[in-house]
Amino acid sequence: MSSALLSVAGIHRTFGSGPAAVHALHDISFEVEPGTMVALVGRSGSGKTTLLNVIGGLDRPDRGTVTVDGIDVTALDEDGLSALRRERVSYVFQTFGLIPVLSAAENVGVPLRLARTPQADRERRVELLLELVGLAGHAQQRPGELSGGQQQRVAIARAIAASPRLLIADEPTGQLDAETGLSVMALLRGIVESEGVTALVSTHDPVMMALADRVIHLADGQLTT
């Protein structure tokens, strides 16, 4: 049996039908070992986001299987997928996706609330995570009062709050300047090491690729390396 945390096998995904059909993913297969940070690289429209969505269960492939931590994601129903996202897979998006009326600490605590973590444990964990992402002093600030980089740090803290096995980050530095982007990627790298989480990060930036353990290239829906 494979020791990979993530196993992608023969994934196909086509949008539309007939002559207008777009083959977003074509026979994608790869594996990712636990505790590694993998960069998914490709130009816009190469299928990066589609692949991440399929892996995280946000989209379903036409063919092929995705296994995360031994669970066949493609076979799960909606409740199973919800449980998967609550316990094993989390996301970081380019647009942060924080709840504007909640403070940074409350945003980080959202997955723990969904997991019904006791309040005291939740507060301890949130405090720890905010310290980890360097925002201990901004716990009570709302997203609107934080910079873009700080908001993305909150989003990362929220993503790892429930101790997922796999962290999927779709262009997490897309809305940040180069310097802030680099610091966010460095943070992700540090989290992979400190929390033992496996990260799959899509990016355009060659500098970011240098921080990854492995780089997977995607072009026109197919792996090129």
């Binding site: 969505n53 946000l58 989209d59 996202r85 609550r86 380019q94 996706g97 709840i99 959202v110 609330r113």
Partner: protein, 892 residues
């Protein structure tokens, strides 16, 4: 420069947003139809009300001309019998017709001329009766009769003989109807035993007994006592009978009476079928002018003296029509406001849906004027045909269209879309960022707050001004009444704005509370609610429409209750019997019999005398006197919802209860009154407040033991069998039942029309509210479902998304369901007074507000039902969307 238009963009946008645009067209169509149709329908209703009032008023609404006779003294100092007097009466009628304004003449029926003598007392020793001799002439010469005994009155002498002033009583022949002959127990050849106030007898010979060919002939309406004894015309407790003169006996009547004792009158009855509300107004003015310019009654010449009650009748109708117009205007403005708010919300939704496309268009170089023109063309294409169809339907269904009333909706529908669209495009491309400097950000925030406060203060001031204008000026038809008629709507809008400013505080509190709870769904719902709480239009639409619907329903329930109470007040019980003069000796017995009839609870006999002469505090007053067994009367009133009259308990002896509209009769004062059948003045002490009796404003009520001569003429009856029992006992008398009065008032044109309008307005407003809620939910749906999608990436289950969505949408629904009706009721308190509901309910005072508490439940059920439907519909629509697609679209 003419803005460049890009037609494919216009077509493409319209195709993409076909649903919302069709919805706008639908709202414009329905509201335009309503706004255009209500004023002409009100006018038609006012026409019917004026016609009905004229019809009911009968001779009271007739225009009368009177003129003195020329003296008939002969060359020898005596009086000359003039054989041409009937021809003189004809000439007099022609003179009156010629003198009439042609417009007024056109609205009047052919004239009827009467010659009436003074009323004489019948001296046969029985009950108080009076007698009057009358000559009636119309185009056909007079109403047709059949002589069933004797013959028509003839002349006593031939030719123009002169008789001495102090000669014997001159005989005049009269005919009696068979009813009156029976009442007077007279046959042809008999004499009517009469005398005048100075106890001077008259020689009235009965020549024959007749039966009218058509008792409904309009000519008889001027002298109904000639056919049937009529009560109450010659003082309390008295009955008038009449004798018919002919053209041959008229010269003798002239001689038989003094020069001033015979009065000739031409009656022009108003023709209801020729009247409209507008022409009735002109007619009232013409009639009033005619009276004002008429010769005084003291003039000794034979000039025409005009009189009419037409202006008074029309003044009463005008008060009712004004009240109805006021209520209709208030309701129509409420509906228009609701529609305008919904149209603004629809424009907001369309602009949000197009925000990305508009921004892209702008970025590609399209100017704002071009964009505005394109959007204007689109909204005009949507609005104008819908409005035209609404107006056409109004013309078809209501026979007219009030274009001015449709303007707010049409203008809003045309302008709102372009305004919101251009604003969205301008915002998307303007280079204004939040300042980095904290104090600059704070200043920006403060400026925005000040702007909001200024808007709130302006709306509040406008609402206060409208309420003041409503109280000071009221709402009169045809005048500039837009501001006072807007008072309830502006008041509701102002109140809602104040509530709106409290919303963030409320949702913030709810969020803090939910953060302390262990329920994650509550947190997410409250968080979304807090994020959207400051949106103005959704809450404004929901609360304003619900509040105004509550206002409309309260108007209806209050009017309905007031009309029911008014019927109780008018009748005095479930039924009332006005005992005929001949049976008044038996009134107490009749009451006792009625009391034992099946289904009757109580029956009480009373004497009700209008216009008794009373001296109170050195003031001469003419209140209505009621003599009744006070204890029995109190028991009877306890069966009714009429206000309790506790002072009736223990009333006895020379003590009285009083009620006065102007305070001229007060408890504690001593009054002296004289009745026709009691010579000495009776002294009474007012010891308490009398209950309202019928429509009398001033009332004195005494117990039957007060020592006043007492002959009951009225029997009040209560109980489910009262109407049937009274109708069975009403031989010769008049039975009035509460159910009939109530039905009559409810089906009166103005009341029925208003009730329909009130329900139509309430229904339309509630529908607009639900539509507005659906639109606001659609408008905020993309942001909501993006957040929900993000929460699902964190592990939120699909079925829980519905609850979170409902939690976000719940606060405005709760505020509208609870606050809306309460706000409506507050405005009811502030504005009902000047709407003069009493003029339509038939009460002496405005009806007490009847709060439809059930409305709170109905509003809550409707709005919560809409919420559930909206959430379910959204979930169904988005069920097939993959999370990845939602996030990709939202994150782009």
């Amino acid at each position: 420069m003419i803005p460049a238009l890009h037609r494919p963009s216009i077509r493409g946008r319209a195709r993409a947003d076909l649903g919302p645009l069709l919805l706008v067209a639908g709202v414009v169509l329905v509201i335009t139809l309503l706004a255009a149709a209500v004023p002409p329908l009100m006018r038609a209703t006012a026409d019917r009300a004026a016609q009905e009032a004229i019809r009911k008023a009968g001779p009271d609404a007739a225009v009368q001309a009177q003129a003195r006779w020329e003296d008939d003294y002969g060359p020898n100092g005596g009086r000359v019998r003039s054989t041409g007097i009937a021809a003189d009466v004809d000439d007099f009628r022609g003179r009156a017709e010629e003198a009439l304004d042609p417009d007024l003449r056109a609205a009047l029926r052919p004239p009827i001329t009467t010659v009436a003598a003074v009323t004489l007392a019948v001296t046969d020793g029985s009950v108080q009766r009076h007698f009057q001799v009358d000559y009636v002439q119309d185009d056909a010469g007079g109403p047709a009769v059949t002589w069933i005994a004797g013959r028509a009155p003839g002349g006593t002498a031939d030719g123009n003989v002169e008789i001495p002033l102090n000669g014997p009583l001159w005989e005049v022949q009269v005919g009696l109807s068979e009813t009156e002959a029976a009442a007077l127990k007279l046959k042809p050849g008999g004499h009517v035993p009469v005398q005048d106030e100075l106890r001077q007898p008259y020689n009235l010979l009965v020549s024959g007994i007749f039966r009218p060919v058509d008792p409904a002939d309009p000519a008889w309406r001027t002298v109904p006592w000639v056919l049937q004894p009529s009560s109450g015309l010659d003082g309390s407790g008295s009955t008038r009978l009449g004798g018919l003169l002919s053209a041959d006996s008229l010269p003798d009547a002239r001689l038989a009476f003094q020069q001033d004792q015979l009065r000739r009158t031409v009656w022009f009855a108003a023709d209801p079928d020729k009247l409209t509300w507008e022409s009735a107004q002109q007619l009232a003015a013409t009639a009033a002018a005619l009276k004002a310019t008429s010769a005084s009654s003291g003039a000794r010449d034979d000039s025409l003296k005009w009189d009419t009650g037409l202006d008074r009748v029309l003044r009463d109708v005008r008060a009712q029509v004004d009240a109805a117009y006021a209520q209709a205007a208030v309701l129509l403005i409420a509906v228009l406001a609701g529609a305008v708010l919904v149209l603004l919300l629809a424009a907001d939704l369309i602009a949000r849906r197009r925000a990305t496309a508009l921004a892209a268009t702008r970025q590609r170089g399209a100017g704002l004027p071009s964009l505005a023109t394109e959007l204007l063309i689109e909204s005009a294409v949507v609005t104008v045909p819908a409005a035209a169809l609404g107006i056409a339907l109004s013309l078809l269904l209501a026979g007219g269209a009030a274009l001015l009333w449709t303007l707010p909706v049409v203008v809003c529908a045309i302008a709102a879309g372009p305004a919101f669209g251009v604003l969205a495009a301008a915002r998307a491309t303007r280079d204004r960022r939040a300042p980095a400097n904290r104090s600059a950000r704070r200043r920006q925030l403060r400026t925005a707050q000040l702007r909001r406060v200024a808007i709130d203060a302006t709306v509040l001031a406008a609402a206060a001004g409208a309420v003041v204008a409503l109280h000071q000026r009221g709402i009169a038809s045809g005048s500039d009444s837009a501001l006072p008629a807007s008072a309830p709507t502006l008041g509701v809008i102002a109140g809602t704005l104040l509530v709106l400013r409290l919303m963030p505080v409320g949702t913030g509190l709810a969020l803090r509370q939910s953060l302390r709870s262990r329920r994650p769904l509550a947190v997410f719902g409250a968080a979304r609610a807090a994020a959207t709480a400051a949106r103005v239009l959704p809450l404004l639409v929901l609360t304003v429409t619900t509040a105004l619907a509550a206002f409309a329903v309260t108007l209806d329930t209050t009017t309905a209750r007031g009309t029911a109470d008014g019927a109780w007040q008018t009748v005095g019980g479930d039924a009332r019997l006005d005992v005929p003069p001949d049976s008044r000796d038996d009134a107490t017995k009749i009451a006792a019999q009625l009391a034992t009839a099946p289904g009757v609870k109580h029956a009480v006999a009373a004497e009700v005398i209008d216009g008794v002469r009373v001296i109170a505090d050195n003031n001469a007053l003419t209140p209505t006197l009621v003599i009744v067994d006070a204890a029995a009367f109190q028991q009877l009133r306890a069966d009714t919802p009429l206000p309790a009259a506790p002072d009736l308990a223990g009333l006895s002896g020379p003590r009285a209860l009083v009620r006065s509209g102007d305070g001229s009769l007060r408890p504690g004062m001593t009054m002296r009154l004289r009745l026709e059948n009691t010579d000495p003045m009776v002294e009474l002490t007012a010891v308490g407040t009398a209950p309202a009796i019928g429509t009398a404003t001033d009332v004195i009520l005494v117990d039957a033991s007060a020592g006043l001569a007492y002959q009951p003429d009225t029997v009040w009856v209560t109980g489910s069998g009262a109407a049937k029992a009274v109708e069975a006992a009403a031989t010769g008398g008049r039975a009035e039942t509460r159910a009939e009065v109530l039905d009559d008032r409810r089906s009166a044109p103005l009341n029925a029309g208003l009730a329909a309008l009130e329900w139509a307005a309430a229904g339309t407003l509630l529908l607009l509210g639900m539509l507005g809620f659906a639109l606001s939910a659609a408008s905020s749906a993309p942001a909501r479902w993006e957040t929900l999608a993000r929460l699902r990436t964190l592990g939120l289950r699909p079925r829980d998304t519905h609850r979170v969505a409902a939690g976000e949408l719940l606060p405005p629904v709760l505020v509208a369901a609870i606050g809306g009706p309460l706000l409506g009721l507050l405005l009811v308190k502030l504005t009902f007074g000047p709407l003069a509901l009493r003029t339509l309910t038939g009460q002496l005072a405005d009806p007490a507000t009847t709060v439809p508490w059930w409305l709170l439940g109905v509003a809550a059920v409707l709005l919560l039902g809409t919420l559930v439907a909206v959430v379910a519909a959204e979930a169904a629509l988005r069920r097939h969307l993959r999370l990845g697609d939602v996030l990709r679209a939202g994150g782009s």
